[in-house]
């Protein structure tokens, strides 16, 4: 609260100059205040996932006696390893919705002129908004997933111990830290892969005078349709599809091998560190083209915010 106390020089110097301000930090906090879905939606989903998984584990406990040890451990671990998926899916969904409103909402409610009366540049504002899908939401997803997994693991431990068995194999089966690495890697790959989508949505939200949803969706669909009708090709449509599903293909060995039909023993799950393929991901032109496109979109969004009038 008290800048003067923290910066005693201020009270002596003639102009009360430049208390250390942190526009980027506060701009991000402002986004989190304004868009409560950033925190609330993943929290609610995490609570539901936790509740469902806990029920499943407890119901399981009543059947425990009949299961042999290996099956018992495996069935306790199952909800544990599924739990992060819906949380991550939610944060990506929230990210799409957020981006589409990020620069449109402040023009619609005309608060943009208030924000512009403060010394926060358009670039800082747009970068703070871009940080929500690119950094804040992924961090929330990871933090919540870890919390949910730890709670489930503790519950599983109690259930197993309640049946007089050692929890040690359970912890081995769960492979908590390995799962964490896969989770962080997979989410990171998706964030980078989806960056151009976030960029495009934010560009539209800075530009559209109304109905940003339509402006975001219709032009890509129209281009696909025109290409299909005029040239009979599906190049653009394939590109869009690759953008949506490509992260899984490029980031993991299993997925790419399965796509070629050459993965022996793949069961559709990613549960081994050897399946991570960062070299392939970083070598994929689609990643870099996408990131360049995203950077261009954010740059245009900065210019648009500078020039556009409130709606």
């Amino acid at each position: 609260m008290n800048n003067v106390a923290e910066f005693p020089l201020d009270s002596q110097g003639a102009p009360p100059m430049m208390a250390a301000t942190r526009p980027m930090y506060w701009s991000i906090r402002r986004e989190v205040w304004e868009n409560r879905s950033i925190t609330m939606a993943p929290l609610i989903v995490a609570a539901v996932v936790l509740f469902a998984s806990a029920i499943s584990t407890l119901v399981l406990a009543s059947r425990m006696v009949r299961l042999d040890a290996a099956k018992q451990y495996a069935s306790v671990v199952k909800p544990f390893s599924i739990a992060p998926a819906p949380i991550m899916f939610t944060t990506i969904l929230v990210a799409f919705v957020y981006c589409l409103d990020a620069l449109y909402g402040e023009r619609r409610d005309r608060s943009i002129l208030f924000w512009k009366s403060l010394p926060v540049s358009d670039r800082t504002t747009v970068l703070a908004k871009a940080a929500i899908p690119l950094a804040v939401l992924p961090l929330i997803a990871i933090a919540l997933s870890i919390v949910v997994q730890i709670l489930l693991l503790q519950l599983g431990t109690m259930v197993v111990m309640g049946h007089g068995r050692s929890p040690a194999p359970l912890w081995g089966e769960a492979r908590f830290f390995q799962g964490l690495v896969i989770m962080v890697y997979g989410l990171g790959a998706h964030v980078l892969w989806f960056a151009p989508i976030y960029g495009w949505l934010m560009l539209v939200s800075a530009w559209a005078r109304r109905a940003p949803v339509l402006w975001a969706l219709l032009p890509p669909l129209a281009i696909s349709a025109v290409e299909r009708i005029t040239f009979g090709t599906k190049f653009f449509m394939n590109m869009l599809q690759y953008r949506v599903t490509g992260a899984m293909k490029e980031a993991f060995v299993h997925a790419s091998a399965a796509a070629k039909g050459s993965c022996a023993g793949c069961d559709g799950n990613i549960d081994r560190l050897s399946q991570l393929d960062p070299a392939r991901l970083l070598g994929a032109p689609g990643l870099w083209v996408g990131l360049l496109f995203a950077a261009a979109c954010f740059a245009v969004a900065v210019r648009l915010r500078r020039n556009r009038e409130p709606i």
Partner: protein
């Protein structure tokens, strides 16, 4: 030093000319009233001064080009407009946190002191406050910013007279000093006449009248003319004439005070009356 200096300031929206080559100079420490009908170009001029819109011509605000140097300029400028609304979702405590976090010249303790005089609660959201309270909040925020230029664009639109009066009282008593400059536009001209040091009329994107209040008071006189002296009054060349309760009220520019005193009761006209006279004559000349 001039706070605002413009030469040939021009702005067009397609075929519409919003600012038609404005020259103006506002010295530091002045309170300028910018008066004009709707669509005259007031808000466009203020937007150009605030660096919110690009323009043609030469414009310096506090020695800077507001469009290209907006990021530096905005530290020294504060702004309240009827259209620059506070976001409805924000809490009073949050907006205080935010300003303290981003504005190097914001004094939070000062803002808290101003707010303590109002009934605005820290925990309220803006959407829960009345329009008058939102204005009080905005004013408290702006007065706690140590800015050199304060721009007010219809700051009291839609507020009741008590709040309007308080608004200008606190502005003058608690905020204004000789190092600051205030530019204000409003339709309630009469209420700010005593506050202003300078007045400017703008119409069709041009400045049609500009004077300091001292000059204004020295130059213009209004006389309620006795019925038997109407002909004599007209002979002195009034710039405007109106009827109130059957008596003629004549407005004179640079007329001899002694001659006027012979015609009836002489007084300083209101800005509103001069505005009507100047605009009326302009429209007449245009036709």
């Amino acid at each position: 030093m001039a706070c605002i200096e413009a030469h040939g300031l021009r702005k067009t929206f397609g075929a519409t000319v919003a600012l038609d080559g404005i020259d103006l100079r506002v010295e530091e420490g002045r309170i300028l009233g910018l008066i004009g009908p709707n669509g005259a170009g007031k808000s466009t001029a203020l937007n150009a001064i605030l660096g919110l819109t690009p323009y043609q011509g030469d414009l310096r605000v506090l020695g800077r080009d507001p469009w290209t140097e907006r990021d530096q300029l905005v530290r020294d400028v504060a702004f309240i407009a009827d259209v620059a609304v506070l976001p409805r979702w924000i809490r009073v405590s949050q907006v205080l946190d935010f300003l303290a976090g981003v504005h190097p010249r914001f004094d939070r303790a000062k803002a808290e002191r101003f707010l303590a005089r109002t009934s605005v609660k820290r925990t309220s959201k803006v959407r829960e406050l009345s329009k008058g309270m939102v204005t009080q909040l905005h004013l408290a925020l702006v007065m706690a910013i140590d800015a050199r230029l304060l721009v007010l664009d219809e700051p009291t639109l839609g507020l009741d007279i008590l709040v309007r009066k308080q608004f200008y009282d606190s502005l003058i008593n608690d905020y204004f000093d000789r190092n600051r400059t205030i530019v204000v536009t409003t339709h309630q001209v009469e209420e700010i006449q005593d506050v202003l040091t300078d007045v400017m009329f703008i119409n069709h994107g041009r400045i049609v009248f500009s004077a300091s209040m001292e000059d204004f008071e020295a130059r213009y006189a209004e006389v309620m003319v006795n019925p038997d002296q109407v002909a004599a009054a007209k002979a002195l060349g009034p710039i405007y004439e109106r009827q109130v309760f059957g008596r003629g009220i004549f407005l004179f520019d640079s007329a001899d005070r002694q001659q006027l005193a012979a015609l009836g009761e002489v007084r300083t006209p209101s800005i509103a009356d001069l505005f009507v006279a100047v605009m009326g004559n302009q429209e007449g000349a245009a036709r």
